[in-house]
Symmetry: D2
Subunit: 424 residues, 4 copies
């Protein structure tokens, strides 16, 4: 792909951002692009790409249908769309070039539920590829990631790579919902070396981070408290107050003891309850997340959190139903692979700064794939490719410097070829 | 009005329930009915009936407009509607028959935001006068109250009453929003004897409660907490957590010390906060109410509640804006008037049981009018007229036994005539 | 007894106040005084006066021994003391004068753990009968009550009463610990009319309250939380924090919903926990009390309180042992008896004001005896005899106007004689 | 000093443990021992050794006097004691041997308020040098530290060291109370290289940790809440409940947001409040501590903690007086010095294991001296010398393997000589 091709494809995806498990157009376009450019050995689409019963945080059917119908109104191939119906998105492309190592590249492809800026200073607005989906936006660069995946495939196909390359076009990263489903499908099982990539992360164009770490293990918890309504003036004693239960839980969730082994986090990010000022609240809800620097630390917080929520309900004579939502483990980039990426990056045109390591400080479900590979004896690294981005990640003015897309393709392709030669 | 007239008019109103400050059709129909039946001395409509700047809990313009437009689509007189535009609903009808005492009758006219049952066992559904306004319902009998108001006016007009009768068709009782506006208009100032009426209240048809008491003074409080968002995984220390502030407030609101002088109440009836599981919540909200057996007791709770909310915000380095919403004082029915009502009721056909007193245990903004009259040296009583009601007040299967409408007209009209004769 | 006798005996008791279940000297002196003055038919002392296994809130042996030894150092009859050893205090004196009604009079005899004022303006200090027991004081007039009991017995013995009089000298009222033990002994079972008496209660000398009501049912609860200590700097995650459990319980105890049926109370009166600033607290304690206007209301609060405490422990992975301590039910004075007392009081010299009823607003374990009598078909009244008291009840400058002792003897004796004649 | 001398002196101190600011006998014996063995150039005692107005966590006069009188009853030189009166303990010994570098050695000398085991398996009990001060014990090895200080001074005096050696015998480490006072006195100002030493810390005899880090900055906070008492049954509304304020503060203290920059800690280690079950609690108290991996992080927690405590008081209409008690900053051992200590230790007889670094995970006020030296351009290292200790630090069966005392003298003396030669 020429630079123009990369830019053009990225802008196409940018124009039609689709949030988690709704990447119907996106997946179909990737498939079309791959099929038009490459003679792939395998191309697993939708339900064949993922372990369908490991999908996390899937929206309801109404929401899925709405986005599906929207995709059907585009000019994308309806036959491909049909394979994705019901929220089975994503794809795995396989290129077999010999008996060399199996290398994986994971790119995520989903957008975010955020309105894109229409400020004329915002390049997508100025140049006409701003989101056409109201309330949705590629505000984290996954449009670039998908493009990089296609670009790397083509570059490797054109080179002398002697192993197998698998590119994982993963859905639903933003809700930590797709990584588990992709990691639990057999395609990951035989990967010897896995690379994941992210653009930006506050690094400018020309910087490469060879190994990003500091992925906090994370888990979403949703608690629904049910009590009994009552007239708050007439018979407060007849109520069982779900908001009191919720407030008690919130107070104590934030008080979970810190752990000496590393970072722990807890957040009651969304709460609600009650129906009217004069009714003892009969229901309440907490959408929380817990995190840990390691998966064990996350489990520590989760165990406390569940006990607190259950006891808070019991304290106010309420019931609580308690769902564990999306989750992701922690993971670490392997030293040998990180060194190799750093070497390659140092020799790549346009790369001015190479950082061996950096901390993410957030969560990512690429970790599911990284751990799967590492547990099977393979190696993994999460590579950061800097890009000038005017707005911060997840803000309405986020954009990528398209220059960095080609750089990412360069660094990753050359890394894959070096892996083939050196098997670090 | 014949019994059939009363029933017919009540069913007309029942079919078009309108919540607080949106009683456009309702007010217009009352005005039409009065004008068609009676030669009133005065008829104050909308902004002439209420002290417009004392309206409490008025919905926003979008909401008002929606209901106004809906009313315009009916066959009600558009000239009347225009006088009500902007949520200035309600009416005061005056009949001057001589220099006898000025007697007031207060009836409320608003519906509730509740979907009416379509169960064939529910009479309005079976007989075709179920609510035509989706999500709204006369679930507390105010359709009957308005009808009683018209009926009493006609009966008194036809009798030998020698004073002045004023009927207050009050809007927005359900949100405790209209009583203050009506009490602060000059029409109440010269009332010597005020009667208010409510049907049902768990008393069957044939029972009259001569004096209902136990109105808890009430005040709605709404607190909006504002903090600072932050990434809950990456930088929890950069957040100022509005949900923690809210939860602390809730816990402590319910812990306001009980008061030895009488009943106090507090309820955090609706709460909400935050935007996403992984964001430290930047905003939160509590819609609370406080009550007291007396106005002083309500003030006691309110003072504590405000201090708690402010301190909770401060504790978590948040701001809080704190609005006092609708409110109503407590009030007591006067003994002489209660005795007279009891006497009259005892002599009224169809009334089998007369209770001197009963406790409401809730709140009502008729108290604003009662206190206004009492502070001016007048007397007031809040009269309960039993009615068989299949579902409880405010439930989707509430209905009134239309038999009781005529009984209410009888008891109230005869009471007004006795007041004229006896001036208790 | 002459007025001087009454004063002298009261001052003797005042000089040696003994708190709950430690009334060794007090009981012995009462016994001595009764035996020296009267030819009683029965005199049940210590373990014969009470149901020993229903004693509540008994102090530990060290404390009991200390007071026992102190009593042995006085000149009181050691043979009597020996019958009381181990904290079996109190006495029941019986005078049988015929087959008339059995009338009971209950007086309490214990002091309080409070240092008495040595201000020269404090009469007991000025006149040399201030407490000789450091840290203990008759600060609630029970010295006067015991004296009244003796005085009434002598007066009735000298009159023409034709029934049976039983005077219950009850220990441990201040800790609500003795009433149950006394009520569960057979002596109360055949009482037809029970009078209880209290001086003061903010009424001046010359006022009599014929029937005091408003006794809140009460129960003491003591919760001991046990967690696990840990170094708060090094390993906070290894602790199980009993102070967090306690604080959560306290916050929610005060938030127990108010009840529409009447007064409820809850108080976490004493709390403590932890051992050092740098240790995660392994233990904590709450000494709470719950009350209700009726025994049912108290039970309502108790049920909530227990659940809250247990859930708070569980929430923080702590154990809790939960003891129910002293308790007393509510009770009401019977109308007929109250009327009779009021009549008598109105005719008694020195009584200027007679109140039919007044509310106590606190708790009292005379209610155990009152309920026992009432459940057996008898009648009971709790009589207040005003006394000028410079300091409030339970304060260090409390004192009684000794004039009122004689008035109490007059009113009660005459009431007993009227009961005999009229059997109301 | 021979090994026997070291053991004998250590056992003398062990027999008379004295807690913080009460090290009268201890200081005097150190002074006597130094004067008898050495020709010191300077010996600053008590108020001359410390900045007297920077003492933290000083006990009250009654407590100081009690220990002072106890010391006077021993055979220690009364003239020395007199210089210490009022809790001005500690000493700084100076040996000037030329114009080489100024090296400091800090040893702490205080005991702990803990009863020593009298189990025959506990060596001090078996061999007759168990604590003679009831309730006090050298349970952290500071008796060994003081001995090491004396031993190093003598060894250096006997060698060819060419600089100045200052040994800081610091009082009150256990309450983090003496380090600030010692660091703020001029004796520390010109130190070029500072060594601090601690025995044990779960390392066995034969292990040396060249540089201990991970000192959490710490601050003690004590909050006294004052409200208003009231009868909890009769007039709960008249109270201002200090226990509610305290419980609210505790709940929210533990909820202070975690900080991404490193460890933070908060602990409400001791709480108490209230006086009786039936009194609305008028007072309450929290003894808390906050810590941070850096001094800034500790300040972050402290700022939040203070705001929370103040707001909790305000919320319940209480006053709060808020004292900041003892504190200590964080500190880090300098690399060059650590390397040198490691080298020396590797060559020392009896040392089998050398660890470059280890984490303490607690707090220490040697950090005040370390930072003072480092801020003046000098270097500091905190050295751990392993010792077999049967019981854990601060437990009643703690003891040191006296073998390690000589090893510590060896390692430290040789380090000081190497510093003199190499000036790292």
């Amino acid at each position: 792909m020429t630079t123009d091709d990369l830019v053009s494809f990225r802008r196409d995806l940018h124009r039609r951002p689709e949030p988690a498990w709704r990447e119907f157009y996106t997946t179909a376009r990737i498939v079309e692009e791959l099929e038009s450019r490459l003679d792939l050995d395998e191309l697993h689409v939708g339900p064949e790409a993922i372990a369908t019963d490991h999908r996390l945080a899937v929206p309801d059917d109404v929401e899925l249908d709405r986005w599906y119908e929207q995709a059907r109104e585009t000019d994308v191939d309806e036959a491909i769309l049909e394979r994705l119906e019901g929220g089975y998105t994503g794809a795995v492309a396989v290129l077999e070039r010999g008996d060399g190592p199996t290398v994986g590249l994971r790119v995520d492809v989903d957008g975010l539920p955020r309105e894109e800026s229409d400020d004329p200073d915002h390049l997508p607005a100025a140049e006409g590829f701003r989101s056409e989906h109201e309330g949705a936006m590629h505000a984290c660069g996954h449009d670039a990631h998908a493009t990089i995946g296609v670009g790397v495939l083509e570059r490797i196909a054109d080179g002398d790579f002697s192993g197998t390359l698998k590119v994982f076009f993963q859905p639903a990263e933003e809700v930590i919902g797709g990584g588990k489903a992709m990691a639990n499908r057999e395609h990951v099982a035989d990967v010897d070396y896995l690379l994941a990539v992210h653009v930006g992360l506050d690094h400018p164009t020309g910087t490469v981070v060879a190994g990003i770490d500091g992925f906090l293990a994370v888990c979403h918890l949703e608690a629904e408290f049910s009590g009994e309504p009552a007239h708050a003036g007439g018979h407060p004693e007849q109520g069982r107050n779900a908001v009191q239960a919720m407030a008690t839980a919130v107070q104590n969730l934030y008080g979970i003891p810190r752990h000496n082994d590393g970072k722990t986090r807890v957040n009651a990010g969304v709460v609600e309850g009650g129906s009217a000022a004069n009714i003892v609240p009969e229901h309440a809800r907490i959408v929380a997340e817990v995190r840990g620097e390691t998966t064990d630390l996350m489990e520590y917080v989760r165990t406390h959190a569940k006990r607190i929520v259950r006891s808070a309900a019991e304290m106010h004579d309420c019931e609580v139903s308690f769902e564990t939502g999306a989750e992701a483990p922690s993971a670490t980039s392997d030293e040998e692979l990180v060194s190799l990426v750093a070497d390659v990056a140092g020799e790549t045109t346009g790369v001015e700064t190479v950082l061996e390591r950096d901390e993410l400080g957030g969560s990512e479900d690429a970790t599911f794939l990284m751990r799967e590979v590492q547990q099977n004896g393979g190696h993994a690294a999460y590579v950061g490719v800097g890009t000038d981005h005017p707005g911060g990640h997840h803000t309405s003015t986020f954009d990528v410097d398209e220059e960095s897309i080609g750089q990412a393709v360069d660094v990753l392709s050359k890394t894959i070829e070096r892996i083939d030669r050196e098997r670090p």
